[in-house]
């Protein structure tokens, strides 16, 4: 699948300059409307969460339980995706509001914000889809590219993937500790331990909140509240997993080798981000609920631009790709999800043979 489009170096640099221009335009036009947008989303998310939890207090009625759980799940999804992920990217740092800033934000996700910023913003976004560099390729546990060597353990990867989807936040938190780098000496056990402690502290608070404190406050509704919270967390995990896997692993997303990184220019970097990412087609609701990762391409080109602007620049990026003869991969959520699962199932088995990328 490494069919890296062939571009003359001069074209690559032109492509990069065009993208820089779009970026500068967006940055130059950031203002009150954008600030209103993120504050509006945050206020809506908090109201939805309060509403969901309030409904769950009356959840002896099954329809109320369903409504409360749905509201809470939606709030948790918004909190992680359109708010948390994007705030932690520094997309809203330009507002200089200490309440909405990557330096101060903490989110309802097992991975502590500091650790996430390192593993995601730095490692993944810098080395996107580079084998041996981007640990997000298969999250070190799965084979999602035929270029990865096959081991028998991959036979079980369809099962892992279901488990990863259900417990996504915990999987990601532990994965961020990079335990596999301890035996090689790249990481000290002490550092890993302190990271694990931070995760444990955070997970403890989250578990107490969702599975002890709120159920206790609900009194007679202890069990329905606990189950509602559990369902909301699982739904959030599965949704986040689905969206994120659609971003880099469907058919059409390319992987790269470390030697392709040599002398990488800004233009090359842009091209690699483009080729390694896939969009999801859909309406405004899908974009909002996916944290605008449905615009994964735009997000990877400009990880620190406010997410509400991706939709407006997407047609321009697509047109630019056409002009330069570069692929712009996108598809519906069902198509991309099917494609991801097909790949996970296929690559659980050895092969197929690959031709070296060039």
């Amino acid at each position: 699948m490494s069919t890296t489009a062939v571009l003359f170096p001069a074209d690559v640099e032109d492509f990069g300059r065009e993208l820089d221009k779009i970026r500068d335009e967006v940055i130059g036009s950031l203002g009150e409307q954008d600030a209103k947008y993120i504050r509006g989303v945050i206020a809506m998310q908090r109201r939805l969460e309060l509403g969901g939890r309030a409904l769950l207090f009356a959840s002896w009625l099954p329809p109320v339980w369903v409504a409360g759980t749905a509201a809470l799940a939606t709030a948790k999804i918004l909190e992680n995706m359109e708010i948390g992920h994007n705030v932690l990217h520094g997309q809203w740092d330009w507002m200089r509001d200490p309440k909405i800033h990557s330096m101060t934000w903490e989110w309802d996700f097992a991975s502590p914000a500091d650790q996430w910023k390192h593993s995601h913003n730095y490692i993944h976004h810098t080395w996107t889809n580079v084998l041996g560099k981007d640990r997000d390729i298969g999250y070190s546990a799965m084979r999602v590219s035929p270029e990865q060597r096959w081991y028998p353990i991959y036979l079980a990867q369809p099962l892992y993937n279901v488990l990863l989807a259900l417990f996504f936040e915990y999987g990601i938190a532990v994965y961020d500790v990079e335990l596999e780098r301890i035996p090689t000496g790249e990481k000290s056990p002490k550092e890993a331990l302190s990271q694990l402690r931070a995760i444990a502290g955070k997970v403890r608070r989250q578990i107490i909140k969702d599975y002890v404190a709120f159920p206790l406050v609900a009194g007679p509704c202890f069990l329905p509240v606990l189950l509602g919270n559990l369902t909301a967390n699982l739904a959030r995990n599965v949704w986040a997993h689905t969206i994120i896997f659609c971003g880099h692993f469907p058919e059409g997303a390319e992987v790269f080798t470390e030697d392709q990184l040599e002398d990488e220019t800004r233009g090359d970097w842009y091209v690699r981000q483009l080729l390694g990412s896939c969009n999801i087609d859909g309406g405004p609701l899908l974009h909002l609920m996916s944290g605008n990762l449905s615009h994964q391409i735009e997000h990877h080109l400009f990880p620190d631009l406010p997410s509400n602007r991706y939709a407006e620049i997407a047609p321009r990026i697509r047109a630019l790709c056409e002009r330069f003869g570069l692929p712009y991969t996108s598809g519906s959520l069902t198509r991309q999800t099917r494609s991801v699962w097909k790949r996970i199932l296929r690559l659980a088995l050895p092969g197929p043979p690959t031709t070296p990328a060039g």
């Binding site: 507002m95 200089r96 200490p98 309440k99 101060t104 934000w105 309802d108 989250q206 909140k209």
Partner: protein, 386 residues
């Protein structure tokens, strides 16, 4: 969410029960703070952060206005003459500036006022005067500053002001008028009780010499003239500089023969304060001054790589750009205030390197120094704990 530099010490101890409740309720709001949800109902119900709501904007002159601000519940009353920093969002970006409070402490309606003069290239001052609507929420800090009246106030006072330099003095006048110089805590056992007991103290003898270009430019002009007409203890001399030229300290003996015997407070442009300070040489213990805007010279250091160690951001800076601007442009959450080297709201601890003071051109700095980022530029590579 954790809150940085502005907030942790902002709540006085009397909220401690509330604080304990808040800390218990954090189990229900983690990773956020209860404040983050309370703020949905009323942004002023904050235990963590000081905020205010603009209740009204009253024009004072063609280019000055008084903003009436209702502070959040955790506000600590100020001492007349003190200033606060105001954080306001303009085009989506928060800007902090320092302004003197122009109201006496503990107004019956619980509000405070600042009086702002729009300066021609002043982004924030123009926004505050011309485009701020009632209902706007602003960030606040606790009142600060030593340009205050002693408690009890001396029997004879002299105020020398020019332009918007009248604003802190207006707060002092109001408070002298109501018989209490004290305001918040730390002012000789101030607060509501002592204010009550001092209510009937007589107003001291006050001479106010104020300069403005023309009569209509005098901020609080009508009010001041009214007070002077009504109060035998208040003598007001207005100097209209467009017609009469600038007031020289040598003019002072004619206006106020006993100037040297009075405790004096001066607030205005730097040149005026420099002259006043020179005139008071040898008697400087009787003179209190408040600077508004010292001149920042264009000269700078050599520039260099600046590392903001707490934020983990790194950027090349030239020798003429204040570290404050460098940090803000790099996305660092920089504390800031007056931006002209007065309020110390922007300081950061230097962990290595040296900085150039943009006011004097002096290169200084040792490990551990607190430097004012608004008037310091990089002189070579700099690491700063921000």
């Amino acid at each position: 969410m954790t809150t940085p530099y502005l907030t942790t010490s902002d709540a006085p101890p009397r909220w401690s029960v509330r604080r304990q409740l808040a800390s218990a309720s954090r189990w229900l709001t983690t990773p956020l703070m209860p404040d983050d949800y309370l703020g949905l109902l009323n942004p002023l119900w904050s235990a963590e952060e000081l905020r205010g709501r603009v209740e009204a904007v009253h024009p004072e002159t063609a280019d000055a206005a008084t903003l009436v601000i209702r502070p959040s519940r955790n506000w600590v009353p100020h001492r007349p003459g003190q200033w606060v920093r105001i954080g306001i969002d303009i085009e989506g970006i928060r800007h902090w500036r320092a302004y003197s409070l122009s109201s006496a402490p503990q107004r019956p309606d619980g509000c405070v006022t600042i009086t702002v003069k729009a300066v021609p290239d002043g982004l924030v001052s123009r926004h505050l005067v011309r485009r701020t609507a009632p209902g706007t929420i602003v960030g606040l800090t606790r009142p600060e500053g030593e340009f205050v009246l002693p408690e009890p106030p001396p029997p004879r006072l002299l105020f020398l002001t020019a332009g918007s330099g009248i604003t802190p003095v207006m707060a002092m006048l109001h408070s002298l008028l109501t018989g209490g110089a004290a305001g918040g805590e730390g002012a000789g056992g101030g607060g509501a009780v002592s204010l009550q007991s001092e209510k009937h103290r007589e107003m001291p003898d006050v001479v106010l010499v104020h300069s403005a270009p023309m009569p209509e430019d005098v901020i609080f002009g009508e009010e001041l003239r009214g007070l002077a007409a009504r109060l035998p203890n208040l003598r007001l001399y207005e100097r209209h500089t467009r017609a009469g030229g600038r007031l020289k300290p040598t003019d002072l003996p004619a206006l106020c023969p006993d100037w040297a015997d009075r405790a004096a407070w001066a607030c205005g442009p730097t040149e005026m304060l420099d002259e006043v300070a020179a005139h008071w040489a040898g008697r400087s213990d009787r003179l209190h001054v408040e600077h508004f805007r010292p001149a920042v010279s264009a000269a700078g250091g050599e520039g260099g790589r600046v590392r903001f160690t707490k934020s983990g951001r790194e950027v090349d800076a030239d020798g003429g750009t204040p570290l404050l601007t460098v940090g803000e442009d790099a996305g660092v959450l920089m504390p800031s205030g007056c931006r002209v080297g007065i309020c110390f709201g922007c300081v950061g601890r230097l962990s290595s390197g040296q900085v150039c003071d943009l006011r004097t051109g002096q290169v200084h700095g040792e490990e551990g120094d607190l430097v004012q980022t608004c008037v310091s530029a990089a002189a070579g590579p700099v690491d700063i704990e921000l």
